[in-house]
Symmetry: C2
DNA sequence: GTATCCATACTCGGATAGTGGTTGTCCGAGTTGCTGGGG
DNA sequence: CCCCAGCAACTCGGACAACCACTATCCGAGTATGGATAC
């Protein structure tokens, strides 16, 4: 039960992108967060494949959000990077072994599967309730200064 | 983002144990569910280490629940087998890189960590709301016959 | 007949290999912006 | 002065290894049962 560490990177990148005014290259994002540039590129590619961010090639290219920050939920990012398959996969144990239930009696998921799926839904619902815009607002509220103004300045700066 | 498959086995075993009247050996549980006996033993050991089930050694020994089925939640089992560490681990990215926040400004968790932790709490709350007794009741309601009477008979039967 | 002892077989428990997925890395394809020359 | 062709540098994208957790397995430690034996 472990979530891919790249999810955290992707979330931070999306928050930064929501404040950027121009496409940001993957290398610049990696430098800003002090993480492996090549591996971060992999996560950004996953986000691009999911349609959350768009890539601009060539000089002064990079990544930018495709939708308004308020229209991108944390769940979108987590599913794009970490995979959308539920954490729990029922293998239908009840249909195996000497006391196996006949398939005709297994029209609905078993009780264990229902409980795990309900928990998974609760998890997803909680993540769906938070948008990138919400995150950005909270980050700014946490500190007294305007963090994103500083980031914007650094992004447009040299090197 | 994948939950250990052994969690499903452990849940089924606990439901079966809630219906058993005598200790059940690990090998018998494995035969009932048609799974690897040695690997299932590992999961049962984890449950025993967590204090959810007790082992009786020697002839006619086996595993049995230590508490009433209503006092054992699904979360207890999931944490015992799959580990109790949260799925999301914040690495404090905000304190790294050229725009790092000073540690003095990081008294509370960052917004991303808060959102992920809230979702994790929702997941755990959902699992905590279901007990082994609830599962057993639902399983019986799903079928017309008394499933556990059959299982009890098979458990006391030969080979 | 009863109590004791012992051999047996059965149980769990931790230490030990194999495998898929996440982590980390690399180089090639494609596009943009700039520069220089020509009209 | 304006336009165009060429170049160079920068960007992403997918294909390629290394490490760790989950999967699967084995053999040793310990104990209750059952029977045989002595009283």
């Amino acid at each position: 039960m472990k979530l891919s560490g790249g999810v955290e990177w992707a979330l931070h990148c999306c928050v930064v992108l929501s404040a950027a005014t121009a496409p940001v290259p993957a290398g610049r994002l990696a430098e800003l967060h002090d993480v492996s540039p090549t591996y971060l590129a992999k996560q950004l590619q996953a986000l691009a494949r999911a349609g959350l961010i768009a890539s601009t090639q060539g000089h002064s290219g990079g990544y930018s959000l495709t939708r308004a920050p308020a229209e991108i939920t944390v769940l979108d990012i987590v599913e794009a990077v970490g995979g959308a398959t539920p954490a729990f996969a029922c293998t239908e144990i009840r249909q195996r072994g000497p006391m196996a239930s006949p398939p005709s009696a297994c029209v609905r998921p078993c009780a264990i599967n229902r409980a795990m799926t309900a928990a998974d839904d609760a998890w997803r619902t909680s993540l769906r309730a938070v948008s990138v815009a919400d995150l950005a607002g909270e980050v700014n509220d946490d500190y007294d200064v305007d963090v994103f103004a500083g980031i914007r300045g650094w992004l447009s700066g040299p090197s």
